[in-house]
Symmetry: C2
Subunit: 323 residues, 2 copies
Amino acid sequence: MMALPRTDAVEHGDPSADQRAFRRCLGQFPTGVTVITTVWQGNPVGVTASSFSSLSLDPPLVLWSIALASRSCSAFRRSEHFAVNILKADQIDISQRFSTPAEDKFKDVEWRPGCLGSPTLPGILALIECATEAVLDGGDHIILVGRVRRYARFPGNPLLYAQGRYAVADDHPRLLAGPAPPSGAGGKRQARDLRLMGLLAYVEMYASDAFDRYRQSEGLNLAQSRTVFALSAADALSMEEIVRRTVLPPASIEDALPGLVDRHFVAANDGAYALTDAGRALCSRLTGHVERFESEHLNGISKQDIAAARRVLEHLYERLRPA
Amino acid sequence: MMALPRTDAVEHGDPSADQRAFRRCLGQFPTGVTVITTVWQGNPVGVTASSFSSLSLDPPLVLWSIALASRSCSAFRRSEHFAVNILKADQIDISQRFSTPAEDKFKDVEWRPGCLGSPTLPGILALIECATEAVLDGGDHIILVGRVRRYARFPGNPLLYAQGRYAVADDHPRLLAGPAPPSGAGGKRQARDLRLMGLLAYVEMYASDAFDRYRQSEGLNLAQSRTVFALSAADALSMEEIVRRTVLPPASIEDALPGLVDRHFVAANDGAYALTDAGRALCSRLTGHVERFESEHLNGISKQDIAAARRVLEHLYERLRPA
């Protein structure tokens, strides 16, 4: 059967032809963030992983995968146990630390051995301790299947990895709008039927979609537009400094930079990256999009109403912001 | 080595001792939502799945798992191809439709065959078309490994499945604050420094956290509080009708109801569920929380300002809402 064209695709094709574009496509599937640990030759080992998945309830099994090229791969292949530490929204620093090769990732981390010996981290959202049940081939990765010996769930919200950046999960607006009406009417909700907070959640979601369309119209993903903004505030930055300033996973920056260099928005020089003139022009266009967005969509509303809306939002911001 | 106690855990233990609690622990790992499709004996087959994971870039492989008990399991086991449709935030209805056994899930869906014949759905965030590479044992599930033949990425934001409910991914607050300053200063942003849209995003996130604290104070999770609200608008409801009215994944409702019954908030009678007197009292307390939330936090703002803020938000809602 023939492949029908999908003209609205941002990128599409054969994954072997453009691995980087394929990886961006895979990045459309959002996940949580875990640090998976073991012990090998007496030393704690840990890697940040988003490939975790539950597999079976009876018997209790989970799986994840690790690249053959990872320097921790052989430790996980040969050790007999691992622990999955699911990270909370406030654990970006832990995620970043275990994403990059480092001499001692556990330095200053108050880990302790779990029931099978694999390190468990403090402040996490959930812990799943496993005996390694099977190690399966998976192309340039291996699949690790674990039999769960012990689990623990803690209160809090998860850290998310979505479309190449860290994110938090908010209730879907359809949940905030209250239960669906009894009849199968299913027409769209009218703004006037929503409570103020439901209205706010909807507007936020729609606006976030609209911003994404602006980025896409420049052929950029979120990691690329953030990289451009970070570089606009400096003369030149190292990869590590871009990671720090954008607060994005290192893999996202490694993925974002080559495209920006290929399109001559960024120049690479001796491990330092800087905006070109074209990059500075791009940055101005992006800023312009945001400004136009607000002015266009607020067009037709009086200045007084906008000022009043700002007062209400600023008031709520100050009231609701955690101490 | 001994298991050290984790006194701050909500629930912990041996997964074989309490499967429901173990499932809640697994639910701490947030995921996207996919509908995975194939064709069997000339008919389109599709299931909602959150077990999708990328596996390998070279060769290009992905994996997912399906329960042996699923009525679609044998179709996927025997078919030679499948397509992963990653859903957008506005595709809850598609997720719900493919989560429940139904005569013809594809009725009125404008699907079309992909390059290998598996159905592709309209309006999705990404499409990953695969030839089935391997089918592996996974306890009460099978693991399907696919070799990717074609991918397509579309603009938009993903639908999330997080802690038992549908959610949307918002930029992590550390991203919203703009690039981190060169120095490690990191002071909190003032409301007046934010653009209207940034302000809106922050207020939405803080409000959502505050609502969760109300629920937790009643010992309820989100699925439970929504079930209570849905039941309050009816005499008695079937499981299917609760799913429809709460807009929650069926598995979340199956998980939420036993706890409400155990605590005598809900009575089960011949496949129908109804609030008890204690349940109705609980519902009044929850409604009270929401009303108090708005009135308390809007306290000190003039009625005129609130009305103006509503006008601005209603205007943005109508402007930004997709046609």
